[in-house]
């Protein structure tokens, strides 16, 4: 590989990294807006986004949703409708940002479980 090819590859990689960082920042801002909304206050969701390696060795964004549930709640107390609605809204938020161009998935945990 020539020096100019190497430089061009490095520049392209930097540009991709920058695009990814911007996509994550924009997604975090959009999720922050969602967290500030009233309807989900019962679950008081908090969000975090990080990069991981996927099943096909690809880059994947993990959208962590941490909810205010007792980590040891009984399965019969699982608020399935509220959780389904929350995850649906999170997915809509991701789809509305440049992060949607990457592979991503929503990972849900209780706040206590996530901190463990």
């Amino acid at each position: 590989m020539s020096e100019s090819d190497y430089a061009a590859n490095m520049a392209a990689a930097d540009a991709e990294d920058e695009m990814l960082d911007e996509a994550i920042e924009e997604l975090q801002r959009a999720l922050g807006d969602l967290a500030a909304e009233a309807p989900d206050r019962g679950l008081a969701p908090e969000f975090d986004v990080h990069v991981s390696v996927g099943a096909e060795d690809q880059l994947v964004l993990v959208v962590e949703v941490k909810v205010a549930l007792d980590e040891e709640f009984a399965a019969s107390d699982w608020p399935s409708d509220e959780i389904a609605a929350l995850k649906q809204r999170v997915r809509e938020v991701v789809r509305g940002t440049p992060a949607d161009q990457y592979d991503w998935f929503v990972s849900l945990q209780t706040k206590a479980g996530a901190a463990a």
């Binding site: 996927g54 699982w78 995850k87 990972s107 945990q109 209780t110």
Partner: protein, 183 residues
């Protein structure tokens, strides 16, 4: 004896336990993985019923065995990407790769239920990968029940899709395989 998706999903829920308390980490990981497998085996069952509805069960099982996780991920990924593009531009032309499959990709991707099922399959596959291989990943009861819920939603979406979209997806899975040899 066929692998039963309903039974797998029941098992995944059982691994969350019935009462209060934190299930062992190994149960949580196995449960997340099992929720994914419930969807994986449901897809192969539906696909083979589409292709060979009147074949003996043994032949159906043999064909089901030929699909790999990557085969289904490829189809799901193709549909997900096309659905993303169509959301922004309903008249966007198919890519060169998409055109290889004639009308199949668009028939699936334009159906909201099938697009959602494809998305959820990919999400569950990534969670299963983390549950089975990532020592640093953490899971709790909410993660497991959420994965079960996603598997159930995806299975319902596969059945709520239009017949033409579902048929196109099963056909896409079939035509991409170079052979039907067992694995």
């Amino acid at each position: 004896m066929r692998i039963d998706p309903d039974g797998l999903l029941r098992l995944a829920r059982d691994l969350a336990g019935r009462g209060r308390g934190r299930p062992p980490d190994v149960d949580l990981r196995r449960g997340v993985s099992t929720a994914y497998y419930a969807l994986f085996h449901d897809i192969t069952a539906l696909a083979v019923e589409h292709a060979l509805p009147s074949a003996p069960e043994a032949a159906k099982s043999q064909v089901r065995r030929t699909w790999s996780h990557s085969d289904i991920a490829w189809a799901a990924h193709t549909v997900k990407e096309r659905a993303q593009i169509l959301r922004h531009n309903a008249a966007a032309p198919l890519s060169k790769e998409g055109r290889r499959w004639g009308p199949l990709v668009d028939l699936v991707a334009k159906d909201a239920e099938m697009a959602e099922a494809a998305r959820l399959f990919l999400e569950l596959q990534e969670q299963r990968h983390a549950a089975d291989y990532d020592h640093r990943a953490s899971f709790d009861k909410a993660s497991l029940l959420s994965a079960c819920q996603d598997a159930e939603t995806a299975r319902a979406a596969l059945r709520a899709a239009t017949t033409s979209a579902a048929d196109a997806f099963w056909t896409l899975l079939l035509v991409r395989r170079p052979d039907l040899r067992g694995r």
